[in-house]
């Protein structure tokens, strides 16, 4: 199968599976409104925090209010994409514990694709909207020199940020193959590491910097894009780092899923 054909088929199946979920959720769930509003509320809370703090000080470690808002927004936005389009990653634990992964393994479609499309978090819509608004605000409030190339790179950075986030989600949730209880909090812990990436990571100790820049590279979702876009770096090639990190995250998530699958016991029968 040629790469082109297999990519086309993957996208086609994604659309079909996602569409199916969407139809189901629109039919059966009615309180999207509450979910979206509460997601927005949660995210606004972070902005309130920043606003309260920046009311009293002009900058943190050389970073201004809108620059930090941009990093917050990147975290929200990618979380939103993760929820809306790839919520299934968070259901992997349930699928494994109840043995429901069986059904996905019976079909001639990548189980990863099936897991990714196994749910839709409408709350993601709230995150995406508020994320884009804040990114827009931040990029206009800060005085930047835009060029065509920079716009393209900005778009690329958003795409890779989403890829990194979803890969980290998936990788963290494959822990369900090893930690076999319903209340597995490991994925939440990994998710919480994203908190560090809401701020310039230079304020943290070396250990934490290595953690969020290498081991669980959330810094490439928010900090490095900000570093490039706000011209804080002396190297013009810094924008290449996030795409590399995205490939790394994708590969690790894929490997962990494959290894985890060997541990799958199809319990709950």
């Amino acid at each position: 199968m040629s790469i082109l054909r297999s990519t086309r088929r993957t996208l086609f199946l994604y659309r079909r599976l996602f569409g199916t979920q969407l139809k189901a959720i629109l039919e059966y769930q009615t309180d999207f409104f509450i979910m979206i509003v509460s997601a927005v509320l949660t995210q606004l809370l972070g902005i309130v925090f920043l606003w309260v703090v920046y009311n009293r000080i002009p900058d943190i470690n050389g970073w201004t209010f809108w620059e930090v808002v941009f990093m917050y927004a990147m975290i929200y936005l990618t979380e939103g994409f993760g929820s809306l389009f790839f919520e299934g990653t968070w259901r992997l634990g349930g699928l494994v514990n109840r043995g429901e992964l069986d059904v996905m393994l019976l079909r001639p479609v990548s189980p990863i694709l099936q897991v990714l499309t196994n749910g839709i978090g409408m709350n993601g819509l709230g995150n995406i909207v508020i994320g884009f608004i804040m990114i827009g605000q931040a990029l206009t409030k800060v005085d930047l020199h835009w060029s065509f190339g920079k716009i393209l790179i900005a778009i690329l950075l958003i795409l890779t940020a989403v890829a990194i986030r979803v890969s980290i989600n998936l990788a963290a949730n494959t822990s369900a193959f090893w930690i076999k209880n319903a209340g597995n909090a490991f994925p939440i812990m990994i998710h919480n590491l994203g908190e560090f990436a809401k701020y310039p990571i230079t304020i943290f100790s070396m250990g934490i910097q290595l953690l969020v820049a290498v081991l669980v590279p959330f810094a490439f979702v928010s900090f490095f894009p900000a570093y490039y876009l706000f011209d804080k770096s002396t190297s013009p090639w810094i924008w290449l780092a996030p795409p590399v990190a995205a490939i790394y995250c994708g590969a690790v998530a894929y490997m962990l899923f494959r290894i985890g699958l060997r541990k799958y016991e199809s319990a709950g029968n």
């Binding site: 509450i34 309260v52 703090v53 597995n184 490991f186 812990m189 304020i203 934490i208």
Partner: protein, 272 residues
């Protein structure tokens, strides 16, 4: 005295629930450790952030860096007393429909949930407090209150549990009116975080927001214990705050009771 002796018998069912809840907590100890670690991550992030914020500054909003450090720890402890799991269990029961099984039991739903919550808190909260204090006491520069304030602080932490339970319970019951999402739970967490002082000390707020926070029950969860610990109030002031917490705990309990009976009527009418 007589009444006190009779209590254990009628409460045996509830202590049973609490014990079972402790057992469950122990069974999921790995989750607990991971849960603890994941909220600890947030504490570390906040600590480093505030450290950077205070860089080159003696005080902000009337708080020194030392006070701020202490505040962060206290806020962390009072937030960790109820784990995320405990906080979502009641709404979970309603969302997945297992509440109908509870209706058949000859137990008061509200008391049973309180017993369950306190049961897991004994383990989770107890461990959290111990671990945190070990970490904190070995770290320098954390304030320690005098004896009487310490005592009042412990009382207010216990009262804060009741206040938090009241809010969690009411928000959980609200799930009867929403069809299957955690939206209400998230919204509750956001509101609680803002008005309790967990997000940022209330003194950082603009005046109107601070005043608003102080008339709401949420302040009893973090702000009250923290002010007592930091000796921002004298003994009489502390006792007043404690009384206020208790009043709120009672008011919330009664609201919860009313809402429950209303909710049950809804269930019986609609047939679950």
């Amino acid at each position: 005295m007589n009444a006190w002796l009779r209590l254990p018998r009628s409460w045996r069912a509830y202590t049973g629930i609490a014990t079972r809840s402790m057992q469950n907590t122990l069974a999921y100890r790995l989750s607990y450790v991971v849960n603890f670690a994941s909220s600890f991550v947030l504490l570390i992030a906040m600590y480093a952030l505030w450290n950077a914020i205070y860089a080159g500054r003696d005080e902000l909003a009337g708080m020194s860096w030392t006070q701020m450090k202490t505040y962060l720890i206290i806020s962390f402890i009072s937030n960790s007393l109820l784990s995320y799991y405990s906080e979502t269990r009641i709404s979970g029961k309603i969302l997945d429909g297992s509440v109908s099984a509870d209706l058949l039991k000859p137990l008061d739903f509200q008391k049973a949930r309180l017993a369950e919550t306190l049961g897991s808190t004994v383990i989770e909260g107890g461990l959290t407090v111990i671990i945190t204090f070990i970490v904190v006491l070995s770290a320098s520069g954390i304030l320690k209150p005098d004896f009487i304030h310490s005592l009042l602080f412990i009382l207010s932490i216990l009262a804060s549990l009741l206040v938090k339970f009241g809010i969690v319970y009411i928000a959980g019951l609200l799930c009867f009116w929403s069809t299957g999402s955690l939206g209400i739970v998230w919204a509750r967490m956001a509101v609680t975080s803002l008005f309790s002082g967990a997000l940022v000390p209330l003194s950082f707020f603009p005046g109107w927001l601070e005043k608003l926070s102080l008339v709401l029950p949420f302040q009893g969860i973090v702000h009250t214990p923290a002010s007592i610990y930091l000796e921002e109030v004298n003994v009489w002031g502390a006792l007043g705050l404690l009384a206020l917490q208790c009043v709120w705990a009672c008011v919330l309990w009664l609201c919860g009771k009313l809402m429950w009976s209303w909710a049950v009527r809804q269930i019986t009418i609609h047939g679950g």
